[in-house]
Subunit: 356 residues, 4 copies
């Protein structure tokens, strides 16, 4: 269970990393929405590995097929099933790992939970699991753009401690983000981050980083109080992404170092409604959107799979030297960008439908 996300706009994903295909079923998407495979493909292409020398060389062409729910380019209101074949399966890569759990992977915990592991690759505990999220998120985004003009843009804002300047108040577009392979729209920081990744790759090591996401034009009044706060749903969505280790909204952890008089967002008239002068709340107050941009940051750990030998133990507890083969990213953060966008879109499509 729990391969389903959302209440009204629901995504169910399926597929192991080295099985026949991965895919998703989107349920609850309103009827009469224009939707083509191309709307989905564009985000899948941004998630795809092998886009640059920074990410893994595994070549997954990841072509989406729409199996149901759409006719003549229009949604019917029925479930939209999406399938993406796994073309580039090389199960052999991983077989030598089978007698030991890879450090900081889910091998051990899956074995404890299921008493069985997919014979190769991570099964569901693989970055490939996110294909279904990105596909479903693209449908959610189409709905949000068409009905509300919501704009969701994420980018890499930190790698191995190298921070870009705060761009959350700039009107960054996806073209700005994609201007370099790192997906950091600040070119100067991007160059430094790329150098850091290359240093790590050379050392057969990996690095982590932060993705910042801004959602503009989210209608005010979305989200539920108490347990269904928009902040809670976003946090739950982000921490469900593989390798995610932290989430903060607005000023986030920095707010813990502020006084109330610094952190509070004062109201001011904006057109016919009230806005805030600053946006330290990140667009959400009491769990409900206030009409300002929703701004949050998501922390990703360094890739657990590294080329360097690691001293670990096998399933029997014997000390061994672990050398992880396979093809892996020295830094997953650039590819996490469309995944963060997808999860944000799924959250807002869901609370948008619940808002009536």
């Amino acid at each position: 269970m729990f391969n389903t996300f959302g209440n009204r706009f629901r995504l169910t994903t399926f597929g192991e990393s080295h099985g026949k295909c991965v895919g998703a079923v989107v349920d609850g998407c309103p009827s009469r929405l224009k939707l083509s495979a191309e709307d989905i493909q564009v985000q899948l292409d941004r998630r795809r590995p092998g886009q640059s020398r920074l990410t893994t060389a595994r070549n997954e062409s990841d072509v989406v097929r729409i199996l149901s729910g759409v006719e003549n380019g229009i949604t019917l209101g029925s479930p939209i099933a999406l399938a993406i074949d796994n073309l580039d399966r090389k199960p052999g890569d991983y077989t030598k790992m089978l007698n030991m759990p890879r450090p900081s992977h889910a091998d051990l915990t899956y074995k404890l939970k299921y008493s069985i592991l997919a014979s190769s690759g991570g099964g569901r505990a693989s970055a490939r699991e996110t294909v279904g999220r990105v596909a479903g998120g693209a449908v959610a985004e189409k709905f949000l753009v068409d009905r509300f003009g919501v704009k969701i843009v994420a980018w890499v804002s930190s790698v191995e401690g190298i921070d870009s300047p705060d761009l959350s108040e700039e009107k960054i577009e996806r073209e700005d983000v994609d201007c370099n392979e790192l997906r950091c729209p600040d070119l100067k920081s991007a160059a430094k981050m790329i150098a850091a990744i290359e240093r790590a790759a050379k050392a057969r090591d990996s690095v982590g980083g932060v993705v910042t996401c801004v959602c503009r034009n989210v209608p005010a009044g979305w989200g539920e109080p108490v347990f269904g706060k928009a902040t809670a749903l976003l946090a739950g969505a982000m921490l469900s992404i593989p390798a995610c280790r932290g989430f903060e909204i607005g000023a986030g952890f920095a707010a813990t170092r502020m006084r109330g008089s610094e952190h509070n967002d004062m109201y001011i008239r904006k057109g016919k409604t009230l806005g805030t002068v600053t946006n330290r709340s990140g667009g959400i107050q009491g769990g409900i959107t206030n009409g300002e941009p929703v701004v949050f940051r998501v922390a990703f750990k360094p890739t657990a799979s590294i080329g360097r030998a690691q001293r670990s133990a096998d399933y029997k507890g014997k000390q061994v030297i672990c050398e992880v083969g396979g093809r892996h990213d020295p830094c997953v953060v650039p590819r996490a960008v469309p995944i963060v966008e997808a999860m944000a879109a799924l959250v807002f499509a869901d609370i948008g439908l619940m808002a009536g």
Copy 2:
């Protein structure tokens, strides 16, 4: 909706801050568990305001009554309804605020969503809403302690940027935490934090801080992959707490500054099973517990209600000077400690039951 938390172990809370009572219904608690009002009262007392000069003087005695689900001190398996009367209601305190939204409160967003506001206090968007969480969390904790020996302890680890040393590997107990009014078991740091809060209080201002939580003896193999990861459920639970702005598990945001070779937790034999040498994963890998302590940190913003005058706008957009009356904490973080523990208990009771 969304006043219910959990799938198998479910908490539904109710009650406005200045209404007749606040309360909760716990559904799914197994039968034949010993449970008394005292088990719940002890945590309510830790949440209660007026415990020290650091927190609000509002005197809420918060006595819990068990209305159902328990007979002769034993749970029946039926819903456990809990009610706590609101004794100390002074609605008048807030009335002058009614023509303007308090900055960084939920007044505006609630009005946008519901087209009506509770006539006094924050209604559901009040710290008082957390009484039901703490009461329900105490039931969850009783279940976890009795069946699995789980130990959940949280404390204040940072206030206004003053950090205590990392104590997450020490076996901190609640008595250690409660040795001072701030609930920071490191006395030296506590003294500095208290001084910071007093400075802020004197300036009619407020400060934020961080709560660290450690859950020991959580069985390995708990949590679901993909969207129901234990990390995702914990993050969603924590971000649903009023004033929460961030969550990180294990190394968290610091992991983004590490290399894989630094961050990876190597395996080692521990008794009959595998453990890890370090615990940068915070006890959860691939969303599933690995048997190591679950360690996470929760960021709280400075209290939005401050005594200082603030330049803001009223509902009509007119610039006004906002002076918030009422009785408020200069720092909510010490009182957030039992709330964080409650939400952690609710998450683990839920995934524990789902684990079968």
Copy 3:
């Protein structure tokens, strides 16, 4: 778990038959709805035992208190908690039953499931559990009446095989139903049914019967296809009522004896929209309402508690003579009328909110 009903309009009930109180929390009720205790009390009074010589003499005054969610007679959008004290507890009545399961009661199955039984009465497996349903259903009905003009009326249409003529196309009102103690608006049939109940009561036996329910003015287009069909939700709601044994919509089981040409409802213009000439579909086609009255019938078995001695076995398997004490209805069906109405209201409030 599973003391909660509904997705968007949710009812959670609590309370054992002989505990302190029974009650309910209604979550998801829209804000700005007029709601008073009297709106709820009127249906509780119809459910209450002791209304006539046909039903049990147990005197439960059943006064509802609204604990939250309503201020100045207006709903706030927050959870509405309702409590009804158990005034007339006589636990002693049942104690002699404790060593044997009462035939066709839930004593044995509860013991198998929970390994514990409430010390007296049926605990949650008691007709008293339905108080929370009726209270919550009254809130749902207020919402349906105010926003959509929906009219829900149920009545007794059969007792021990004595059928009243089909009145489902007449505009029966609750006053018509309440014109006699049996709640059958056809006086001639009512008299025969009352005589049957009196004969059974005299024989220290009980009888079953059927409740017919008609919901008028339900908007067309409500309900979900596939698993969330309005028929499916109604059937699930009705079969969750204690003693319910069957459900049929429209022509129901009689449809199995018809040909398609007899059963099909032909379309005809009705005002600006399409209606049907006949209503054998009972107002629901493909799981979605079509604007015609929703008509269904609910079967209730004879009360399991009878005064007559029964040959049964105790928990150890020993043959015993079972004589059930306590105060029980010879026929629950008249009191089931407001319960059926409550569950219908809860279903339609829920699918109404989901329909947007």
Copy 4:
């Protein structure tokens, strides 16, 4: 939404009748269960049209492909995606109907709800939607058989008012059921029913009927009290099947004509546990299984699509003569047998997992 069924054992179905494929995702199926395509195919073949002259001639070979969740014939605990291609699409058959809603079909209600209709066939409101149920139900059944030895067998017990003798206490097996094309194990009744269907077919008309289902070896103590009663879940599951109009458990509607002394099931020792002498409760008391066979009956209306001309109205309200083309069953009831079994399996797999 609502294309998902179940809480712990969840089925999500997708696919329109004339689209690329239909399918299902099963989530929550335990790991280490043996599962092959053949386990699923055998029930799909029983659902398939064109098996006899009694059912439609549409030739759908309905070959299932397992896309995920199974490796080397063993379930992994991850979602099991199943796809069945639509080979025999003849959209043209239905096009002439597009300007009028077919009587007692879902054309009008779908149009009211979605403002769009699948361009041909019923889209989701088609008997073809049930392919996903049967496929998912076969997985649920495999789990129930392997872990608990549960046996689910359904058969046709009535057609157009012709009733077979009650066989619910006989140990009917699927081979007994499949001994004739009608799936009624009583050969004498079967012959009469077949004659009735042939008469109707000749008259270009259709007939309805009843399916009886018996589930043996269901463990005692399964089901939840109050809203999650096993009876409620079964009723909801059955009424979600296309063309279903009624449900009754045990004595069902006949119980309404009995006295308590007739209907009550007396206890008797059976081996080490208690059983009942009679089974008028149909194996469920207070919503929880008691270890006796679960017995229920499901009513199906006559097929709405008939060859005979019908006087109806088009979408504009104009009176028209409606002649439905396409290929349709004169009686769906034989093909409903595996669908009823599938839904029963899904209910019991779900409550079995919830029972711990």
